[in-house]
Symmetry: C2
Subunit: 353 residues, 2 copies
Amino acid sequence: KQIVLLPGDGIGTEVIKSAKKVLEAIAEEYHHTFTFTVHAIGGSAIDSNGDPLPPSTVEACKKADAILLGAVGGPKWDQNPSHLRPEKGLLGIRKALDLYANLRPVKAFEKLLHASPLKADRVQGSDLLIVRELTGGLYFGTPSERRDDGKSVVDTLAYTRTEIERIVDKAFQCAQGRKKHLTSVDKANVLESSKLWREVVEQKKADYPEVEVEHLLVDAAAMKLITNPTHFDVIVTENMFGDIISDEASVLTGSLGMLPSASLREDGVGLYEPVHGSAPDIAGQGVANPIGMILSAAMMLRHSFSLNEEAEAIENAVQSVLDNGYHTPDLRMHNGQKAGTKEMTDLIVDHIK
Amino acid sequence: KQIVLLPGDGIGTEVIKSAKKVLEAIAEEYHHTFTFTVHAIGGSAIDSNGDPLPPSTVEACKKADAILLGAVGGPKWDQNPSHLRPEKGLLGIRKALDLYANLRPVKAFEKLLHASPLKADRVQGSDLLIVRELTGGLYFGTPSERRDDGKSVVDTLAYTRTEIERIVDKAFQCAQGRKKHLTSVDKANVLESSKLWREVVEQKKADYPEVEVEHLLVDAAAMKLITNPTHFDVIVTENMFGDIISDEASVLTGSLGMLPSASLREDGVGLYEPVHGSAPDIAGQGVANPIGMILSAAMMLRHSFSLNEEAEAIENAVQSVLDNGYHTPDLRMHNGQKAGTKEMTDLIVDHIK
Ligand SMILES: CC(C)[C@H](C(=O)O)[C@@H](O)C(=O)O
Ligand SMILES: CC(C)[C@H](C(=O)O)[C@@H](O)C(=O)O
């Protein structure tokens, strides 16, 4: 299996090494062959190639079976004109590879509930998956431009029925493999696109009779995620609502640094990255939490390579290391053993072997 | 002063009576003359006039000095075609009166922190104001339609520079009267409209040199509202982001039933309504919390009539009644005295007199 590594910026370059180490351990234990090539993206690609997404990176990604991305961005490039900003690399690779389905699981770890902003009894037991449409809507609709000499401006929220159908199908499939509950989030009392969205969800219901479906307006969803996070199993929504709702959900359990994500194409090729950013404030210190990246590698094994046992081996190793009281500084555990990026990675690797 | 009352649906018809009673007490104590007329909106207007916003209601509102709205909506009208849905009345009156500035204050009440989903120490001291643009963006942009025989759909996020300028000005003015900190929320790494938004905020800065300004992406704002709500003073954002962010913020303090809102026109005429909805589950039982509506009436005195002392008299009365341990069932206080809508209203009126 050909895996492209895109370290990116800041702690991205540190945690990607952790993922590689863990995957090498898996390869050894389970007799697989993974080959890795490293390519540039984001700020570091602007520095090296004058382009946040060099053509050579796109080429390599198109040939790969899966891609691991660290993180992009940093203050160094914050004042750049918009075509020379790190996040253009991320948006570009999503679109170039048609990575339409963004999966963002959020799960409460018992040991970390004290770090949650929510009262422990509210968040305990939360285990949800946000399925966000990633290549349509306001992010890529045209026209998106200034008009009348800069006196007005317009962006476009556009979807085809086919685009909605494929993401809704994906979400139903995810729900079938979980607790069989699907919440579709839209703004059907205002947007035409949401009305079509709701119609598609209603039509698809028939194909997944075991899945219970509800519709929730995005404003109500933003409230309910906080007041009652355990209500949810799978949430499906369009690109911009998904951006907001999934980041909102990511802070509920107090374990942002542990959260993985997958961005998938229809054939199963995918890009996997931790939810956290490049964290310029702690970059280079060897203290970054590698778990979000390592669990992203586990998602890769499951979703792109169908290696479920191997994925679980990683997930169980992470759980065991946490249960044994080890943690990176960001997790602010009360007791337990502080560990840096390398130490944490080695502990996880030890558990796998 | 001519005040139009729009009771609307569900508990809207109950709490509007409370606001009227409190305003009558204020009129008596401070020697003002308020005249009230009642008009139909929402579901009950669909029932009585076949229209969620009858022309007679619009007429009356246009002549009024201020408008109080209870709430609209209910299961009875949920299956109606979209032009016959209660919320069309709300959207219609906002647009008809050009109520471009939606002010949504959120304040933690010490006595209610136990009811917050957040840990008390996170939310304690929160006191923020969301200034949401209310008559532009995705809500009213055209085209907003299906295309290609229903095979695709489009909505439009449109703003003029003037529309952005007036809401940004409003927010700066609000910040000046508060803690002089303004957070502008946008998605400038993706949307052209957000880039113009950010540009306008940067330009307006010079007119309000005492106000400290920061820009925050909407996804980061959705996170920070939960992890660090006390960070914020005034938040300004466009219509759809404001819808999501303000509802998210409304559940942080555990006192949704207490929250007021104002929707203002440039000349100070405004529509005032509680943040909570029509609550069909408890309608007609006399247990609705009238405080959100009563505090909306206080906002009306301040923003439309410049009666600051009178507004404070209401706010202090509410605070005192809570401090004395009285509460409606929704507040779930540990000890204290349960009170219904009428009792709570009378207690507040007693404090004013
Ligand atoms: C960097 C940015 C363009 C991106 C997005 O909005 O999609 C990010 O917030 C994300 O969610 O991956
Ligand atoms: C009822 C609905 C159209 C409305 C909105 O989205 O503006 C409501 O959610 C609000 O925030 O007042």
